[in-house]
């Protein structure tokens, strides 16, 4: 344990931006959901109707869990039901980032030669992650108390969130002992989280309570914040955290630094016949992420598509909400308004994938893996393009998958299985010009100002914010118009005009060309 304090400071120094960011964003999501519901559904009757119709929908139950009470705080907490999963995800990634990644890169060895206990790295990662989870829990509880919600419920909610984060921090601590590669450790921990989610999903959608109880994600919900709090599941979370942490320390004692308990998997002794070009290499590097996005977007698309009818039926009974929606969407067909909003949110998400794929080329360059390739007969443009294909066409594939999944799932609930698929694929593909614009911004920065590529993430975050709160905050229209997403047609149901789509595509093409031109002329490395 010697040197843990110094390592804690190092971890905090390295993550001084990212940890506060996820802590605050995750902690304020439930109260924003609650406030939004409290504003839209006034009075007991509307809230009850809302709770009943949503509570009866198996798709939403499986996504968020069961509704415990019709009051606004309980409904908002339920509506933010996926947020604790994100907290668990952030926690496990943080732990692995400061344990196994450090060992894999050899930085751990450098520090280990200084005066440092053998458990200092693991302890520091767990201390910081636990601190972040507690901070998230406290902020969460305070946010509800400050809005006048019951203190007991706020405490139950905050502690439930923090406890889930702690469980998965401990899961990651165990996973980090198993494999030599950080990728493998991440895979183990993510599989555990995925399994926990599936168990809760299966349990809640089929009403099989014991299945849900197997999942740590359900434990926080079973504490019933704002719905007659139950405290003992907290003991369960804490016990599992302590147990897993102990297992991690025991395992850490039984292995070498940088070694794993499981033998590393071997690859082929030679390359497959197809691995002959920069593009073939890029396919190897991008295919996993692309597949994961397709599966993720497809699943969420299917779940929300299946929930659309129930959601819009409820909204139809809410005159106030109806008026807002009509004003926003310009159409009176509630399901189209709902689907258009859904497609818009997914569009921003897919833009995140596009930016990540575009910046993969910069990540390769910084890791000095571009240099050996560019020293062969691969041209600069050829190398960059091999990655950019995924930034530009990957989103198209993902959006088609989304359109098909939403279309089929929605179609199934309204008794027309394939009838809505073309409309929805059209709607999702209409997002593409805006997605391309962001990817192209990343490409332009890569070519012209490689140190500033992070600006493309900032732009994405700002545009996301514009879309979510722009209208609420009354931001001036010229400012909102900066976002490419503000120029997209509201599909399905809205009017399509080709001009904005053509202009955005042209902007994306120009930015891409500028980026490639810049990359041909600048120093590599």
């Amino acid at each position: 344990m010697n040197g843990t304090g110094a390592l804690v400071r190092l971890v905090l120094r390295r993550d001084r931006l990212i940890i506060p960011l996820w802590v605050v964003v995750i902690a304020v999501l439930p109260i924003t959901q609650t406030s939004a519901i409290a504003e839209l559904y006034t009075g007991e009757q509307e809230l009850r109707r809302f709770a009943e119709s949503f509570g009866a929908n198996p798709a939403l139950q499986s996504l968020y869990g069961p509704i415990t009470h019709w009051n606004a705080a309980a409904m908002g907490t339920w509506r933010a039901g996926f947020t604790p999963v994100i907290l668990a995800l952030a926690s496990l990634l943080t732990v692995i980032r400061h344990t196994r990644v450090e060992e894999e890169t050899g930085r751990r060895e450098l520090l280990g030669s200084a005066v440092l206990g053998r458990h200092a790295g693991l302890t520091a990662a767990l201390v910081v992650t636990a601190g972040a989870n507690l901070a998230a829990g406290v902020i969460l509880a305070l946010s509800f108390v400050s809005q006048g919600h019951p203190v007991a419920g706020a405490l139950a909610l905050g502690s439930g969130y923090a406890a889930l984060g702690l469980v998965f921090a401990a899961v990651a601590a165990v996973a980090a002992q198993l494999t030599e590669g950080a990728g493998g450790a991440r895979g183990f921990a993510l599989s555990a989280l995925g399994l926990a989610f599936l168990l809760r999903m299966a349990g809640d959608s089929t009403g099989t309570a014991w299945l849900s109880w197997l999942s740590p994600i359900a434990w926080g919900q079973r504490m019933r914040p704002f719905a007659g709090e139950v405290w003992w599941p907290l003991v369960l979370s804490c016990a599992v955290t302590v147990l897993l942490t102990a297992v991690a320390y025991v395992l850490a004692d039984r292995r070498d630094v940088a070694g794993g308990l499981l033998p590393p998997r071997l690859g082929p002794a030679g390359a497959a016949a197809g691995l002959t070009s920069a593009f073939a290499l890029a396919w190897r590097l991008h295919r996993g992420t692309l597949a994961a996005w397709c599966v993720g977007v497809g699943l969420f698309g299917a779940v929300t598509g299946a929930a659309t009818k129930a959601a819009t039926d409820t909204m139809a009974g809410n005159s106030q909400l109806m008026a807002i929606m009509v004003a926003l969407g310009g159409t009176t067909d509630m399901s189209d308004v709902f689907l258009a909003g859904l497609v818009g949110i997914f569009g921003i998400g897919v833009a995140g994938y596009a930016v990540q794929a575009a910046l993969r080329v910069r990540a390769e360059e910084v890791a000095q893996r571009g240099e050996p390739l560019l020293a062969t007969a691969v041209s600069r443009v050829g190398w960059a393009a091999s990655h950019l294909v995924f930034a530009l066409l990957g989103p198209a594939v993902t959006l088609v998958v989304l359109g098909v999944c939403v279309g089929v799932a929605y179609g199934a609930t309204v008794g027309d299985l394939f009838g809505h698929v073309p409309r929805l694929v059209g709607a999702t593909l209409a997002q593409l010009p805006a997605v391309w614009t962001l990817a192209a911004l990343a490409i332009a920065l890569f070519g012209l100002a490689p140190r500033l590529v992070g600006v493309s993430w900032a732009a994405l975050a700002v545009f996301l914010l514009f879309g979510q709160v722009g209208a609420v905050l009354d931001l001036p229209q010229p400012l909102l118009d900066l976002s490419p997403f503000s120029h997209l047609p509201k599909l399905p149901g809205g009017e399509v005009s080709a001009l904005p789509l053509v202009v955005l595509t042209a902007v994306a093409a120009a930015l891409t060309a500028a980026g490639l031109y810049g990359f041909r002329r600048r120093d590599v490395g």
Binding site: E104, G106, E180, G181, A182, G183, P264, R265, L266, G267, P268, A269, G270, A271, A272, L275, T276, S277, A278, A280, L281, R284, L285, A367, Q368, R369, E371, P372, L373, L374, A375, T376, A377, V378, S379, R380, R521, R522, D523, V524, G525
Partner: protein, 303 residues
């Protein structure tokens, strides 16, 4: 093969290369010597067209490394000083991929090299140690049928056994008529392998020539046991006298005079040692304040 003159490259306010000259003849193994930060890697990266020269003439294999990069790269192979591999690709996959991207690789030689370097090609990139990553890049380069090898500190991370294998491989490559530019800060390696040497300091070439030519420029170490104390000696360096034992270093053009002085006292035993590249190297770095460490070792007694 390679001709560089007056090459200048700045990064922001740092001047990495400051009028560097380098000439590599076909078929030779050319040592490119200098401490870390002298500009060796920067020069090689300019030769690869990865960096753009600010000023100066650079020709590589008869072409312009910046404009004709793709064509020229079919004819050369490069081993970076710090090899990073794709975590999920096995070493064997990387070797094949790099070879194919260069336009083909000699299968027999590849298998032979893998065996000699005792490399497990099935391990994933993330599982290799630094030395093994270096071997992957070396096998990929040496198994390619190319005219020119650009090796940037290729033995960093290799153990002495593997260094010996590397030495053999370089000798074989020379036997096959290939040209090699070998950057290094390890003098013994360069002395063993290279026909000609260029020494760089602070982005400038300070010496260039064959090892024999460079030795002319430097001093011979003499130690002797005499019949009588040597008395005063002029024109020698690091003179140490212990009764009738004497040791000193002397410049090439003063050697004759110094030996006469010793003979006049009566010589019982005498050893003379030709200058090592190391000593040459130290002399060049001694004069810069940044390299105090090098200068001090010069003051050690010569035995």
């Amino acid at each position: 093969m390679i001709s560089v003159s007056g090459l200048t490259k700045t990064f922001g306010r740092t001047r990495a290369l400051d009028g560097l000259d380098l000439a590599v003849q076909p078929g030779e193994v050319h040592g490119f010597l200098g401490p870390n930060g002298a500009g060796k890697s920067t020069t090689i990266r300019v030769l690869l067209g990865l960096l753009r020269a600010d000023a100066g003439e650079v020709r590589l294999l008869g072409g312009d490394p910046w404009k004709d990069a793709v064509e020229l790269h079919r004819r050369l192979a490069y081993v970076p000083g710090d090899v990073t591999l794709w975590p999920a690709l096995s070493g064997g996959e990387v070797i094949d991929l790099l070879g194919r991207l260069r336009g083909g690789l000699n299968r027999t030689r590849k298998n032979d090299l893998i065996e000699r370097f005792a490399l497990d090609p099935r391990k994933k990139g993330r599982a290799y140690s630094k030395g093994n990553r270096q071997k992957v890049a070396l096998v990929a380069a040496l198994a390619s049928d190319v005219e020119l090898l650009l090796l940037d500190e290729p033995t960093s991370g290799l153990d002495p056994l593997m260094e010996a294998v590397f030495t053999e491989c370089v000798a074989e490559a020379r036997g096959q008529g290939r040209t090699i530019l070998l950057s290094s800060h390890i003098l013994a390696e360069v002395e063993k392998l290279c026909d000609r040497v260029s020494i760089v300091r602070d982005g400038r070439t300070v010496e260039t020539g064959t090892l024999a030519e460079l030795r002319h420029l430097t001093r011979t170490s003499i130690s002797a046991e005499l019949a009588a104390p040597p008395g005063d000696m002029d024109g020698v360096h690091n003179l140490r006298v212990d009764g009738t034992r004497v040791s000193f270093e002397v410049d090439g053009d003063r050697l004759d005079e110094a030996l006469r002085h010793l003979l006049a006292r009566g010589v019982l035993s005498l050893t003379s040692r030709p200058p090592t590249l190391e000593e040459l190297f130290m002399r060049h770095y001694r004069s810069t304040p940044d390299h105090d460490g090098y200068g001090e070792s010069r003051e050690e007694p010569v035995r």
